[in-house]
């Protein structure tokens, strides 16, 4: 009876896991998948074998399938021409916002800070330079993403051009991340011994580093996938 209870608990966990499927898939197959999982567990118990390894295998297998299903949905969404227009607008808005920050608040804020501490003003100007380099890299990556969308629209998503665009995005994201790390180290060195609270800027830097590494990882995965698709096509000219 104890195993019956364990199975029920596993089934509940499995149901939780299934929530990560795309909605259509979950509504259509969720119940069936739960039942199948239940049946597999019961079969294991009847054969008097351990449930744990089965549960682990099914969970891992289902997680992989969830990632695959969601990736398919995302790819379909991107392949849809309508949505590339939407993505173009989003990219353009982000670019305009970034430019606006660079032109107005950033220099003004830096000038204000520099005026407060004229002796160490050069340190703040170093930050300004770093921020502008990052902004340039960011805009460059956005431009590459824009180019990638236009390749998709022209049905050239799986071409060397896309691979190159993705590689550029990856490198810019990596460079931004490295600059963030350098910035964090710089802040830590400067604030060491002064007793100033630098947790805020460091936290911001860490978030930025995390975000840019995620972007770099996604770009790297897409790059290898596109490259793989191109290689397969080369092998089968049909």
């Amino acid at each position: 009876m104890a195993s019956e209870r364990f199975i029920r608990r596993c089934r509940n966990w499995y149901a939780e896991l299934l929530r990560f499927y795309p909605k259509a898939h979950r509504e259509r197959f969720g119940e069936g998948m739960e039942q199948t999982f239940n049946d597999l567990c019961r079969e294991r118990v009847k054969a008097e074998r351990g449930l744990f390894s089965l549960a682990l295998w099914v969970f891992v297998e289902t997680m992989a399938a969830i990632i695959r299903e969601n990736a398919t949905i995302v790819m379909r969404y991107i392949m849809n021409r309508c949505s590339t227009i939407f993505l173009r607008i989003v990219i353009s808005l982000i670019a305009i916002a970034a430019l606006a920050v660079c032109v107005f608040p950033l220099p003004r804020g830096v000038a204000y800070e520099a005026a407060k501490t004229p002796d160490t003003a050069w340190q703040i100007y170093v930050f300004l330079v770093g921020a502008y380099i990052q902004a340039a890299l960011f805009l460059f990556a956005l431009y590459q993403a824009f180019k990638l969308l236009s390749y998709i629209d022209r049905n050239k998503a799986f071409s060397e051009l896309s691979v190159r665009a993705l590689r550029h995005v990856k490198h810019s994201a990596l460079a931004i991340g490295l600059l963030m790390v350098a910035g964090i180290v710089w802040v830590m060195v400067l604030s060491a011994g002064t007793g100033e609270d630098s947790a805020g800027p460091i936290m911001l830097g860490l978030i930025g580093t995390l975000a840019s590494s995620v972007v770099a990882a996604v770009a790297a995965v897409l790059q290898t996938q596109v490259q793989k698709a191109i290689d397969i096509r080369k092998e089968e000219p049909s």
Partner: protein, 120 residues
């Protein structure tokens, strides 16, 4: 359409599911067990692969949902049964024909070395 079917090799999962459903309609767990026994335990499909394939196969019209009913051999839960369609049957036949051709070629090639072997 028919031409398109003969040109596309099926994935192993799809082929096995079609084979399992070719004799009778089955529910998810039933398909899994049938595939396992037909492949002598070599092909082990998890629910993720199984239902992912079922979804894609329904989209392309190879199978369809049959009734939702109780399996008398299991318990009193109602399960969705899946059934092969006509398109599914022709696709399976075309795929098996492809395999038959490949096996025929392989057999033909094996004849030559074995005849030499007899000579030694």
């Amino acid at each position: 359409m028919a031409k398109k079917i003969t040109n596309t090799p099926l994935t192993p999962a799809v082929l096995h599911i079609l084979l399992a459903l070719s004799s009778e309609e089955r529910h998810g767990y039933g398909i899994m067990k049938q595939v396992e026994s037909e492949s002598h335990g070599k092909v082990k499909m998890g629910p993720g692969t199984l239902y992912g394939s079922l979804g894609r196969m329904m989209e392309s019209g190879l199978i369809r949902e049959s009734d939702k009913k109780v399996d008398p051999e299991m318990d009193d839960e109602r399960r969705v049964y899946y059934k092969i369609t006509e398109l599914g049957k022709t696709t399976l036949a075309a795929e098996l024909e492809r395999y038959r051709e490949v096996v025929a070629v392989a057999k033909k090639k094996q004849l030559a070395p074995s005849s030499f072997a007899y000579g030694i």
